[in-house]
Symmetry: D2
Subunit: 355 residues, 4 copies
């Protein structure tokens, strides 16, 4: 109820602050009998990890996840899986400047007013570091989905003004995973890299848009009315730090479509288009699931900004620390993880649809 | 768990199909001591009601809501409020044609595969008629919010290619409520009316975009991490039939913003802009809450469409019945209702943030 | 969250007060494809109905349940089932005496202090009338369980000092259902009837103990740790008005047992005893489920009692109205209904235990 | 949903097996601003710890709890508190004998059938070791309750045939905490100690009954209908390993009471008796909360027992390992912890009862 859990039958609860002893969580509802590939979990965590290139933050977080329970001889037992990641590379001194002021565009202001106090170090609970636990849990979810033939892929479709022109069905997902920007058009990576470096040099940051595609979808995932698949996926995406919008299929473009154009015809060979994004009436159609998420440019920049201190006096703030100039890039595996968590939840829920 | 409830502390559960005896619901968690204005509830229901103009469906649904419980001498008692709306104007014959085929763009296909059977009459549970119960519950929520000085307003910001050019702070919400299109720019209503009539004449339909603004917001609504205010509002919006996307503040435009531009400066006089849409770190800032929802053009059109029958044979379908050419218009009070339900839920949740 | 729902995957939410227009509820999560026997639902409601003999209250409530949704051509659709029972035989005048005082042993005192107001007519939400909705929903649950071969039976094992001496395996459940006391030892019914009449004549009331046995149980229902089968069943039983205790298998007698005596040996022919009551580690063993519930003697008696009025002045209260001298008797079908609701919930939950 | 969480607004989720790397949990919903006494948490854990006397198990578990998050400078922040207790003193070899058979009276049989596999070492998830996390979380709950003047005390009221004759209002709770049996009648401790030693010598075990009393209760905790205070407390108690029954106030004795005797008169000086156990209509009356829990004699005894191996062959089992001859004794702080968790949950829930 305090908002640190997601999912109904497959439920992740997380805890931990950026500069406390550890972050972690509990994944409850993982069915028994899955042979777990722990290397894959670590590998997915590594994709999220900062410090991989000079385009992302220079923090060198180890992000070693420890699985504390729910496994016996490498197989899930049906019991909750405890997840633990120690915090090892904190530099709380970087944050002493902000102990008594509100960084604009951050949770400082709202946390302080809501709770009457806050752990200012690294943003405390509002730190993107919390998402590492989501990625670890999402990796387990992806292994469950793989047993059903469902695969989840995300890429960065746009960074600032640079928008991919790659058709969705021609994206090479393996190549996307290998490049540090998770961008589909390899030839444009040098230009985008330059743009990000320029933003950093300017003491500024860039927004990004993530595209997620799930293939191998069965028909029937999602519940009518309030827990429609888009509703639960949308919530999951909007729970990621810095996300500002989410769309399915034609998304906002459906506003200017006509009904005869938007509705996807059904033929013996399947649907002839996918404006719906793979969901009708809140339930998966078996087509690819297609969604997009917008990430704002981070407010952690070195350009001075106007704000207040705790006493209400106007001050200028410069966010030093170690920060990504484009947080959307690292959001890619997080978007995948959140989608995987929601799909497993609905896959389990769908087991109860018939008597 | 089967998806017919929304909210944690203020929780609406709905039931009912378009052509069954009634629709209704239970609103649980309404605090005791609210003097309820039942006329306002009916009035909000009337705004959603079809048949008000020739731009919306010609069904003449009475939509009389009966409050069955939870009130004593006109005041809420803290006990659940039972809501009942009898179905009175059904014409199931209109739907016999579609008993054995899947209307493209509808839930027919997914319901049939998920459950192995479906109530095809009027779409059954997938009918937009279900949203009448949400509007009745939302009206109660709005009365609770009013006691806190929070007001919720929505308008149709775009219909097809027709986009409002009215600045947000100049919208006359009272006038918006009075016009049948809920469109802010009164001088453009004749042209848009014409466009909708043309779409209907063409056997086609139009999409729409709704803007919602909540004023008088307190600081502190929303929970960190998974139940961020955007996450819960986003889910609520994406649970509305025909919605395809939701955005907050700058939304997808934040992709092309720079951090120095997006972050809203804080001064002794307040925030100097509202790119965040009134939420930071998942928690309300006290600024106006600003969100937008995209509604697809309805698939219930008279232009023949390709689809399959239950046996998998290709057939053409023409959706007769009585249908809005632009379902997004009537979504306006539904968007308001869903926002109100979420805000009351978080208003109650926020009472537990401090010891 | 306000406490008017029970169950996770099979979830009943109820509403309604004794003297409002109606009571009712929503049963969400009923799987699709069950051919529903509506006569059986009404028949189970009739068992709970007062006014059947002079041993129970003289109110003549019709208790006609209307199924408002979730059915198509007599078969469940997977969508929520709306339940409605109109209140038809209210005599609010009977309750005017108690509008401004707290009946001892009733919810009057706690409701008034919790909510600041209360619907005093017939106890409002605290009326046992609310349980009629549970019985209707429980009847649906029992039909689902029957498809799995699970049968649920309850009887009154003790009324006041009169305790059944019938061994559990010799109870004739059909005969129990037919007698107005639901008591297994037919030869003792005249004596107990006399005792109840005496209690009523004395302006007093009797307590009762209910025994519930579920046969045909599968292995595997119940979740470890917090949602053990006993925990969820225990909660369901203790949610019934006037219940004060619940026990499983040997129950409180296990305090004086030795481990060598209590533990049920397992042999190729099955368990050799059932001190566990059919549950080990919170999960059903396949043996009969055995539980007992204690019901206090009702406080609605004509013997004057000491209490306070709303202003804190001492007054005497005599509860007139129409009341059972032994409310435990009518609790029998309610205990069955609550057990059925819990078992269906865990039957559905158990579908997700393996990958 | 997989049953490893309890509470709505104040919610504990636990993980961990007896012989895995660690047990732990997440306590979500702890309000901000509580100055936490960590020594008190450890002290309450120490009360539950085995190996304190020769009457309880000889395992020497360190049970050092680490608080991983949710605290800043010793004060709760409103964010989830991560709890971790490393397993340090495992002797898995003790359990190799039971890898391929079902100990009678244990979860072995049901876990194996439910999940298709099990971690047999020390009972895995069914080990009472899991309750250490509950005690740590309960200690935090007790600190919150203390700020409201609510105190929780439990004692062992009966061990086997030895029943305390101490009137409830004369129990010296401080003395109870100090004695290794948590028994109120100090003069009888030698005799009971002897009885327990005899049981152990006989290769057998004893049951126990715990009495819990909460003082300083406010009026208004508990929700009507399904989440009555007894229902939620009853569930919490029945979720403890080896519990078989729970009662409130007069409990099963209310079956033989008359209404004129059971109902507690209300006078200007307060209630004149407490047969209700401090709850009316599911809501606390302000009187002391009184409940009792029965704990079965453990099945982990050295007397050989009949059972089956995984292949269905009959075998004899002798449970060696290190086990308490009376597990009910150590349940005392667990009963306190579970009561505290439920009361805090309802204390927070009650903040939303009025508009």
């Amino acid at each position: 109820m305090a908002g640190n859990s997601i999912g109904q039958l497959f439920r992740l609860t997380t805890f931990g602050e950026s500069h406390g002893p550890a972050i972690g969580g509990v994944l409850d509802g993982c069915p028994a009998g899955l042979k777990l590939d722990t290397a894959q979990i670590q590998s997915m965590l590594d994709r999220r990890k900062p410090g991989q290139s000079n385009l992302t933050t220079q923090r060198n977080e180890a992000d070693r996840v420890e699985l504390l329970s729910g496994l016996f001889e490498g197989v899930t037992t049906g019991h909750p899986i405890g997840l633990l990641i120690r915090n090892t590379n904190q530099k709380p001194k970087d944050y002493q400047d902000i102990a008594r002021l509100y960084r604009p565009g951050h949770a400082d202001y709202t946390y302080q007013h809501k709770y009457g106090l806050r752990d200012h170090r690294g943003g405390g609970r509002s730190s993107a570091r919390e998402t590492a636990v989501r990625v670890a849990a999402g990796a387990i979810a992806m292994q469950l989905l793989a047993t059903e033939g469902i695969a989840i892929h995300a890429c960065v479709e746009q960074i600032g003004e640079h928008k991919s022109s790659m058709p969705m069905n021609r994206i090479n997902w393996r190549a996307v995973q290998a490049n540090p920007l998770f961008f589909p058009d390899e030839d444009r990576i040098p230009a985008i890299t330059k743009a990000i470096e320029n933003a950093r040099r300017d003491g500024d940051s860039l927004g990004a848009q993530i595209l997620l595609v799930a293939t191998g979808m069965p028909i029937g995932l999602g519940e009518p009315v309030f827990d429609r698949l888009e509703a639960d996926l949308g919530k999951a995406m909007l729970s990621i730090n810095a996300s500002k919008a989410v769309s399915f299929g034609a998304g906002f473009d459906s506003v200017t479509q006509r009904g005869s154009q938007h509705r996807d015809a059904i033929t013996p060979q399947g649907f002839t288009s996918n404006h719906s994004g793979g969901v009708l009436g809140g339930i998966s159609t078996g087509q690819d699931l297609v969604l997009r998420v917008a990430f704002k440019p981070t407010s952690s920049i070195t350009t001075p900004g106007d704000t207040l201190d705790l006493d209400g006096n106007p001050v200028k703030v410069v966010t030093r620390g170690r920060h990504d100039p484009c947080v959307g890039i690292r959001a890619t595996p997080i978007v995948e993880a959140m989608a995987a968590l929601v799909l497993v939840d609905h896959w389990l829920r769908n087991r109860t649809s018939r008597a």
